[in-house]
């Protein structure tokens, strides 16, 4: 029997970027907030012995413990879904700060096109351009409405980037980024020169690794990035990478209005009528079950867990792929890559140096910035050359045809360690009627609750786009003077084994219509007015960018909506 605690006004489930931002905004406004986090507490000191490729990159020390919970996966409904037993295609973060600790810091805004993707695609190409089964829909929000929140996120994080507005992306209310762009490496200059010559529009990749010391509007001061090359899968020992642990969470705690309970794993949201009444969580240290009543519940767990919790709690209508009706679990999407590797016989680069978000990119082939009339896909991707810092276990490139081990491998891998550059498209991913998340009928987590089941595969749309982006990337590398250019191979079936991206999206998507979306454009649930569900789970599709900037913007909007709700109640739209 659960121990029942006194009611609290605001409960946040998951203290990563979304939870941290909302906690910060609500506590600053004087609201009392309890933040539940199933992982452990983290602080800057925990990042001081980070340069360990085995512990963090190979053994995933900052990621969730799969022995307790994982997902099951199948490519299609004909297959039996089986558990992802080890990492893995994607890496959900664990502990305070969530995946916001171990991200690279690449911080884009989605395009105006993304938020009205169906309308704009039909407008330009006609309804026939959207193939049967592709379930793209507008997000119920327009660029002008969401822009101020991007601005807020970027100022909080101190995003480093160019001073001038890039004409291929949405109009910025503050054209210049809060801090100047990161330094440019010799290979980034090659990309800049080559793509300028090719008539494209290159720009410095916006970065949450600070280019210079920065004090944000909350008064948080952070040091500059040292280009130490231990970013993705690691916490930043300098606090230079924007991370909830060194930005929004301390701000919220300083108000005295935030109580963080770590090792608190929420297993159920309780509800009555059209309102949630609280949650049940398990103290993972003692096993004790605790009921925490609340007036307002804000769900900010990782994409997959948000969906799982809603399904377990029987909130919202589960998505039914047979009819296309229902919303929870709908429009799961991912990220499609298409790139190329260039080998340089006569030149070596200091690619062991770098920063997670250090790079240069272009949007000439992203969104609807180019004509798709004769192409067999919609949307596209940001094409980027990054220098995030290559580590020695993972970085052993050899030209095609070289054996994977033995004397020849050793020789080639040592030769090419610093002689390869990659240019790669981060392709968008469209949702399909038969791609979705639901509960697995067989496999259970450590509490005996069903695992989340993922039904997902790559489609022809993805194959065409990947090929297109790979060809463009290869063309750029040739212009960058590579001796040999190897375009990435053709996209086959989605395989959950090799790491690809932690940009999982959808499942609790936002929109203007309760029949086709789970939450409104404040991420307030249509069916439960005192529940907000926040994160990349709100995305109707995934764009050709990293998702964090857009998650951050949506979290700021939710914080505003939640404050409004606490004042007036009812539906916000």
């Amino acid at each position: 029997m659960a121990t029942k605690l006194p009611k609290v006004p605001v409960l946040i489930v998951g203290m990563g970027w979304a939870g941290g931002i909302i906690a910060s905004e609500l506590t600053k406004a004087g609201h009392k907030v309890v933040g539940l986090e199933r992982g452990k507490r983290m602080k800057l000191e925990d990042y001081f012995i980070m340069h360990d490729e085995v512990r963090y990159a190979m053994r995933h020390d900052l990621m969730q413990d799969l022995s307790k919970e994982t997902v099951t996966f199948r490519n299609n409904e004909k297959m039996t879904a089986l558990p992802m037993r080890t990492y893995g295609s994607f890496l959900p973060g664990d502990g305070l700060g969530g995946a916001g600790k171990h991200w690279n810091g690449v911080s884009f805004r989605f395009l105006p096109y993304d938020f009205e993707i169906r309308t704009k695609t039909v407008e330009r190409y006609g309804a026939k351009k959207i193939p049967a089964g592709m379930t793209i829909q507008d997000w119920g929000i327009k660029w002008e409405q969401i822009e101020p929140y991007f601005d807020k996120f970027e100022k909080m994080a101190g995003i480093s980037g160019d001073a001038e507005q890039n004409l291929l992306v949405g109009k910025r209310s503050s054209p210049a980024y809060p801090t100047p762009p990161m330094k440019q490496t010799p290979s980034m200059k090659l990309f800049l020169d080559a793509t300028t010559k090719m008539g494209y529009h290159p720009y410095n990749s916006p970065s949450a690794n600070l280019s210079e010391p920065y004090k944000n509007p909350d008064g948080i001061e952070r040091a500059a990035c040292q280009y130490c090359a231990y970013c993705e899968r690691f916490g930043c020992e300098y606090g230079a990478k924007a991370d909830p642990v060194v930005t929004v969470i301390p701000v919220a705690e300083k108000t005295g209005n935030l109580e963080i309970r770590t090792h608190a794993n929420v297993v159920k949201v309780l509800h009555k009528g059209n309102k949630a009444t609280g949650v049940v969580y398990i103290n993972t240290l003692t096993g004790e079950e605790i009921e925490q009543p609340a007036d307002l519940v804000i769900m900010t767990s990782f994409v997959l867990n948000n969906v799982k919790l809603l399904l377990l709690s029987k909130m919202g209508t589960p998505y039914d792929p047979a009819t296309g009706r229902g919303v929870i679990g709908k429009n799961y999407a991912y990220q499609i890559s298409g790139g190329a590797t260039g080998y340089y016989e006569d030149k070596e680069f200091n690619t062991y140096m770098g920063a997670g978000a250090l790079g240069i990119c272009l949007d000439d082939f992203n969104g609807d910035n180019f004509d798709h009339t004769d192409l067999k896909f919609i949307h596209g991707g940001n094409i980027r050359h990054g220098q995030s810092g290559n580590r020695p276990i993972a970085n052993n490139p050899v030209p095609a045809g070289t054996p994977a081990w033995g004397a020849e491998f050793k020789k080639a891998s040592l030769k090419y360690s610093y002689r390869t550059l990659s240019v790669s498209g981060q392709g968008s991913n469209m949702p399909w009627k038969h791609h979705y998340l639901d509960l697995d009928p067989t496999y259970k987590d450590s509490y005996g609750l069903p695992l989340l089941r993922m039904t997902y595969d790559f489609e022809d749309q993805d194959r065409e786009m990947s090929k297109f982006l790979a060809a463009k990337s290869a063309g750029i590398l040739k212009e960058m003077g590579a001796s040999n250019v190897a375009p990435g191979g053709e996209l086959k079936a989605y395989n959950i084994t090799p790491y690809q991206s932690t940009h999982n999206t959808g499942g609790v998507i936002m929109g203007a219509d309760p029949r086709t979306s789970a939450v409104n454009n404040y991420l307030q649930m249509w069916d439960f007015e005192n529940v907000f569900v926040v994160g990349a789970c709100s995305f109707g599709h995934n764009s050709g960018y990293n998702p964090t900037g857009t998650v951050g913007a949506l979290a700021y909007r939710t914080a505003e909506g939640a404050a409004k709700y606490l004042k007036q109640g009812g539906s916000l739209v």
Binding site: F73, G239, P392, W405
Partner: protein, 271 residues
């Protein structure tokens, strides 16, 4: 090494942070860096008894006389080169196989000299070998290749079975243990395991075992030396990888390849 003297002379993180206004911009982040990283380095005096062959130059008033003195230079002892999981037979097979995956050649040391097999042994004894952080709940039906490894065996068990299979196959085909085969014969056996068609390993596959062996060998060559491989950072030196450096702020924009003396995590313990 680059000609420009741009790197701080003492490039430990402590010294770097102390020196660099760029790093902190005069800001102490949450008191943490100030409190821990900038703590004065404790001074430790170590006396080592030594005798050495050494030429001593004495300089009396007018005449130079050379004298030879004997001095013993202590050899480092690698106390962690011992076994936590393998028996001696398993270790011999693993070491021989790892050496074929990354052999010694004119470029430099191979997996054996770098201690990769000790690394593998130590890793198998711990969380990785026991699949402590993996989902190990059944059932384990036959999987499609896109669904990844589906076995109830731990990595520890896969290695034990795989190494035994290498031994059995070698005995059967060459009438010798794997470790005593010629390099070419060992390569042939490993290729058969990599392909996985001729050899069955119960509960898993020869290919899956070989994949684990290859990955673990590469880790043993290039991981921080504290794990028991990458002996004396020789793997990093071979690759010209600088290990654990606190900052490349002053070098990141430079053209031309920069070779640095590597640093390990051990180098940062005195902060």
């Amino acid at each position: 090494m680059s000609a420009e003297p741009a790197k701080p002379k003492d490039s430990t993180r402590r010294a770097f942070l102390k020196q660099s206004g760029i790093a902190l911009g005069g800001i102490v982040v949450g008191g943490a860096i100030g409190g821990t990283l900038l703590r004065p380095k404790p001074k430790v005096e170590t006396k080592i008894e030594t005798k050495v062959q050494e030429k001593i130059v004495e300089k009396p008033v007018e005449k130079v006389v050379e004298k030879t003195v004997e001095k013993i230079v202590p050899q480092p002892v690698y106390y962690n080169q011992a076994l936590m999981y393998f028996n001696l037979e398993q270790f011999a097979i693993a070491e021989a196989a790892a050496e074929r995956i990354f052999p010694q050649d004119d470029l430099g040391p191979g997996a054996k000299e770098l201690g990769a097999a000790f690394y593998i042994d130590h890793q198998l004894a711990g969380a990785w070998g026991n699949n402590s952080r993996d989902y190990m709940v059944g059932p384990f039906p036959k999987a499609e290749p896109t669904q990844g490894m589906q076995t109830k065996l731990t990595r520890k068990e896969i290695f034990a079975l795989g190494l035994q299979a290498l031994q059995d196959y070698s005995q059967q085909k060459y009438k010798k243990p794997f470790a005593e085969l010629s390099a070419a014969e060992q390569d042939d056996v490993l290729k058969i395991f990599e392909a996985g068609e001729e050899v069955k390993v119960e509960g898993t596959s020869a290919t899956a075992f070989f994949g684990l062996l290859r990955t673990a060998t590469m880790e043993g060559i290039y991981s921080d030396p504290m794990y028991g491989g990458n002996k004396d950072m020789q793997g990093w030196k071979l690759k010209r990888y600088p290990g654990n450096q606190p900052s490349y702020f002053n070098d990141i924009e430079k053209d031309g390849f920069i070779v640095m003396e590597p640093k390990s995590l051990h180098d940062h313990m005195d902060h």
